[in-house]
């Protein structure tokens, strides 16, 4: 599946859920998708945000494809990271750069994804910046 197809599928699935409680459950289930950051990456260099909770992100390129690692003890944040993992992991820099972030607004969860205090928006920016660097 392309990144766009994955984004569309996520939007379709989340919009099909009507109650907030079930939306949260759906997001929390995504927490299992996340591969933990190896201990080496739990350092200040990889710390994205520590205002509300600590969030680490490490990205490596293997065969020109992005391999994401996250760590957060927060279940909901981890779930949101799981969404990013499912959408962006194992894709090339060009694929990442050539898609937009419209899915966040379309999912009607932008208040969670864009919340500065939990650091999710910073993760998305980092993915994009890493892709830009890799492309050059």
């Amino acid at each position: 599946m392309t990144i766009s197809e994955k984004q569309d599928l996520f939007v379709k699935n989340i919009l099909a859920i009507t109650s907030w409680e079930e939306k949260f459950e759906f997001i929390m289930d995504k927490a299992d998708s996340v591969t933990d950051c190896p201990d080496d990456y739990r350092s200040a260099e990889y710390l994205v945000k520590e205002c509300q909770s600590k969030l680490w992100m490490a990205s490596v390129w293997k065969d020109h494809k992005l391999q994401l690692h996250f760590h957060s003890a927060t279940l909901i944040v981890r779930g949101l990271l799981g969404v990013f993992y499912e959408i962006y992991n194992n894709h090339t820099a060009t694929e990442i750069i050539n898609t937009d972030f419209q899915f966040i607004e379309q999912s009607e969860l932008s208040r969670l994804f864009s919340n500065r205090s939990i650091g999710i928006s910073a993760v998305l920016n980092r993915i994009y910046i890493e892709a830009k660097k890799e492309q050059h």
Binding site: E21, A31, Q52, A73, L75, L112, I118
Partner: protein
């Protein structure tokens, strides 16, 4: 306290459930404060302390009247002791930056407590580094109290200033500031009291307290954001260098030098937050229209009810048990991250804070993953506490279906 709640339009504009338990972060605004600010923009808009037309003369007069009102509210000797700032943080920065010019000498010591908000740590850390001073910390007991014995030992001949909060923003501990000030003054040090979390809840009279500085913000006392107060003893303020320079704070300027204005203008560079000052005056009027004993009693009962209800929930760990608690109470939920709990409660209309509460040195001692904080005001009520406890159990059950175990037992 229904009559109190009725003064706040927001409770009629946001649909239920709307349970506002984040008063330590910012309080809601009563209609009188909104009206005072709105009136400035619709009827009185002009600058202060400059022009000679009636509109400006009148608003300058009202601006200074607001200063006198704040002076009376906290029992300062004269209006010159009241400096308007952006808030508590700027007030502390003003004192720290100004004192760093000519008060401290290398190896002098500053004491702060571990209960302090970052705004009462970082400015001191910065000047300590720059001026080669030593910043020393007063520790916190397991109950969340400060030890007078420890403070006595900590104060040395090199100690020049003690900066301490009246009420802890994360644990709600009410510190014995009368005793602290007495002890510090006996040792000839300056003492700064951070009253951000107490000003709306506990009557304060600075003359009786004998503190050198007292700082607070308008937005935590039902006033506007972006306005705060620095109280300083006149004789000390007179010795201090201006913090920022420019318009409004000078007596005369020529190409070579500037003579600064008298107090308090010398510390108020630039056009002030006029609407904020008028809103702050309205907030003072609002607070003083209530019997402080009634407010204290009501908040005490409500906080006791909250503590007792939370104590009955087996998976809740209340953080600290200070000798005197204000209307702030923090806790953790076993095997649940505070951020998760706060996000879920938010979806049920419950507004509270989770995380480190700008209090990381203390959080490093208490709980590595942060805490959840409820902070009450007189517009809160028993029904809201019952609803909150019910939804807390719901949130925990929802999160607990997952096996994401994290250590949440606090160390105190």
């Amino acid at each position: 306290m229904n009559h109190f709640r009725e003064q706040f339009p927001i409770f009629n504009t946001i649909s239920d459930p709307f349970v506002y338990f984040d008063n330590a972060s910012t309080t809601q605004t009563p209609i009188t404060v909104i009206d005072a600010m709105s009136r400035y923009y619709t009827h009185d808009r002009s600058n202060v302390h400059r022009a000679l037309y009636p509109l400006s003369l009148n608003i300058s007069d009202r601006f200074e009247h607001a200063r006198s009102k704040v002076q009376q509210f906290i029992g300062a000797r004269c209006p010159q002791e009241i400096v308007f700032t952006k808030g508590t943080t700027e007030s502390i920065n003003l004192v720290a930056a100004s004192l760093s010019e000519n008060y401290f000498q290398e190896n002098d010591e500053i004491i702060v407590s571990l209960l302090e908000h970052h705004s009462n740590i970082v400015p001191w850390q910065v000047i300590a580094k720059r001026n080669k001073l030593n910043l020393r910390y007063l520790t916190v007991s397991e109950t969340g109290d400060l030890s007078m014995e420890e403070l006595e030992k900590l104060i040395s001949p090199r100690t020049k200033l003690v900066a301490v909060t009246h009420v802890s923003n994360s644990l709600g501990s009410v510190n014995p500031i009368h005793e602290i000030i007495q002890m510090v003054k006996k040792r000839n040090c300056l003492v700064l009291i951070d009253a951000a979390q107490s000003i709306a809840h506990i009557p304060i009279q600075v003359k009786e307290l004998n503190c050198d500085f007292l700082v607070f913000s308008g937005h935590k006392m039902y006033g506007p954001t972006g306005i705060g107060v620095l109280y300083g003893k006149e004789e000390i303020l007179r010795e201090m260098h201006p913090y920022q320079t420019g318009g409004n704070q000078i007596r005369s300027v020529d190409v070579q030098q500037t003579i600064f204005a008298d107090l308090p203008s010398r510390f108020e560079a630039g056009t002030p937050n006029i609407a904020g000052v008028l809103g702050l005056e309205a907030a003072v009027n609002f607070i003083t229209s209530y019997d402080p004993a009634e407010i204290i009693q009501y908040e005490y009962e409500l906080t006791n009810m909250l503590e007792s209800r939370l104590s009955e929930i087996p998976f809740v760990n209340i953080i600290g048990k200070p000798k005197h608690r204000s209307s702030i109470l923090s806790f953790t939920v076993e095997n649940c991250h505070p951020t998760d709990v706060a996000l879920l409660l938010g979806e049920k209309g419950i507004c509270l804070r989770s995380g480190y509460h700008c209090n990381e040195p203390l959080m490093n001692v208490l709980s590595s993953e942060g805490i959840i904080r409820v902070s009450l005001a007189p517009y809160n009520n028993a029904d809201e506490i019952r609803y909150f406890c019910e939804k807390l159990i719901w949130a925990r059950n929802l999160l607990h279906r997952n096996k994401n175990d994290i250590p949440s037992k606090s160390k105190i």
